[in-house]
């Protein structure tokens, strides 16, 4: 196409920002989540885009070596999940290096809207341990764990409210599941092809339904 403008990196027009939101979301989703958040500094057009990008990659940009680095990542992840406003029910965390994910959604953090949301985690091949504290948080509607087909041995879900459901499916390589469910109302497990042993601790005796298939 004929573009009369001189070429600096192929033209002086901002072709990127002119793309529709859906495509920019797709582009942002391929970045590490930290860089995705930082696109908000580019221009007004970009300010809120990352918040609704459909995929979050919390992969550490560098391997975690110290407690300090871990604390930063944890703080980052917590903030990310709190400020991200993807349409429910998709919060996806694609991670290959994070070993333990400990997400705390405390009572003191404000709700961004009144829409209950589910936290959904997919594709975390390096995850060995998952701790979720689901308080009076955006995820009060429950937690959905999908395809964490990896080394996850330990899943701990703590909910302060009754209205919490925990689903896990397609956890193909999971061999042992240690689920500590506090105040979780319903537990649904499916496609646990290789699970040999499963321990479910239900401290508060509030589990109303347990489905396994």
């Amino acid at each position: 196409m004929s573009d009369p403008q001189p070429a600096a990196n192929g033209g002086s027009a901002d072709l990127l920002s002119a793309l529709p939101d859906a495509l920019l979301h797709s582009i942002i989703s391929n970045l590490t989540s930290r860089q995705a958040v930082r696109t908000s500094a580019l221009s007004r057009r970009w300010r809120e885009l990352w918040r609704s990008a459909p995929c979050i990659d919390v992969d550490g940009e560098e391997p975690i070596r110290s407690r300090e680095q871990w604390d930063k990542l944890e703080d980052f992840t917590t903030n990310l999940l709190m400020h991200h406003i993807a349409p429910r029910p998709r919060h996806e965390i694609a991670s290959s290096t994070v070993k333990i994910l400990d997400i705390e959604c405390g009572m003191d953090l404000p709700l961004l809207d009144n829409e209950p949301r589910r936290c959904m985690m997919v594709m975390a091949p390096g995850l060995t341990s998952l701790w979720l504290y689901v308080g009076c948080s955006p995820y009060r509607d429950g937690v959905l764990l999908v395809q964490v087909d990896s080394l996850v041995r330990e899943v701990c879900v703590v909910a302060d409210e009754e209205a919490c459901e925990f689903d896990a499916m397609s956890t193909m390589i999971l061999r042992e599941l240690f689920a500590k469910l506090v105040n979780v109302r319903a537990l649904e497990l499916s496609c646990f092809a290789k699970v040999v042993r499963m321990y479910v601790y239900n401290d508060a005796q509030r589990l109303l339904s347990l489905t396994i298939y």
């Binding site: 990196n9 192929g10 072709l15 930290r34 996806e92 997919v122």
Partner: protein, 186 residues
């Protein structure tokens, strides 16, 4: 009018195509004609699939007024290359699929295909792929754009893509404060 054959098209396919009309002819905004395998077009583009199924394909060249000849040539080239490539296991849909299935990494040839494009040609191709509903090509081109952004600071990204910083100094500072948890190393 001259008909540009897709570069990757094998000789046999061409003969069959001419006999049975296994191809569709597409016309760019500037009137150039391109021929593409009907099967590949229908498989890779939801819009072309709809036009083929609905019989709205013109043998003398289906008008695609929104797409320039350079972008259309790339689209046709991509379709023909795709038709000739053996799909890897990654491209064959896995047993577990949900609508949020993450993007499958580009194949080696797809990488090369987008790497050789100029800045403007890349964005023209993104628009063409978007217009034609070519999900895979969109993924591949968007992935390329992400690669161009990776590891760069906001300043560097603005430079590469000519993004105008329309924030005031105060606004930018406010954003960095608000999102300090993501800007911690700066």
């Amino acid at each position: 009018m001259e008909v540009d054959k897709g570069k990757g098209e094998a000789e046999e396919t061409r003969k069959v195509a001419e006999a049975d009309r296994d191809t569709v002819t597409l016309k760019s905004s500037d009137g150039k004609l391109f021929e593409v395998s009907k099967e590949a077009a229908a498989r890779l583009s939801t819009v072309l699939a709809g036009m083929i199924a609905g019989g709205s394909i013109d043998d003398n060249g289906t008008d695609l007024k929104q797409i320039g000849s350079e972008a259309l040539e790339n689209v046709v080239d991509y379709c023909n290359k795709h038709a000739n490539s053996i799909p890897s296991a990654a491209l064959i849909s896995s047993s577990i699929s949900f609508n949020t299935a993450p993007f499958k990494e580009p194949e080696e040839w797809e990488r090369k295909f987008v790497d050789r494009l100029s800045h403007d040609a890349l964005f023209d191709l993104v628009e063409a792929a978007n217009f034609l509903g070519m999900e895979r090509l969109l993924d591949v081109t968007c992935h390329k754009i992400s690669e161009m952004m990776k590891g760069k600071s906001p300043d560097q990204i603005r430079e590469v893509f000519n993004i105008k910083n329309d924030y005031t100094k105060e606004e930018l500072e406010e954003i960095r404060q608000e999102l300090a948890w993501a800007f911690y190393d700066d």
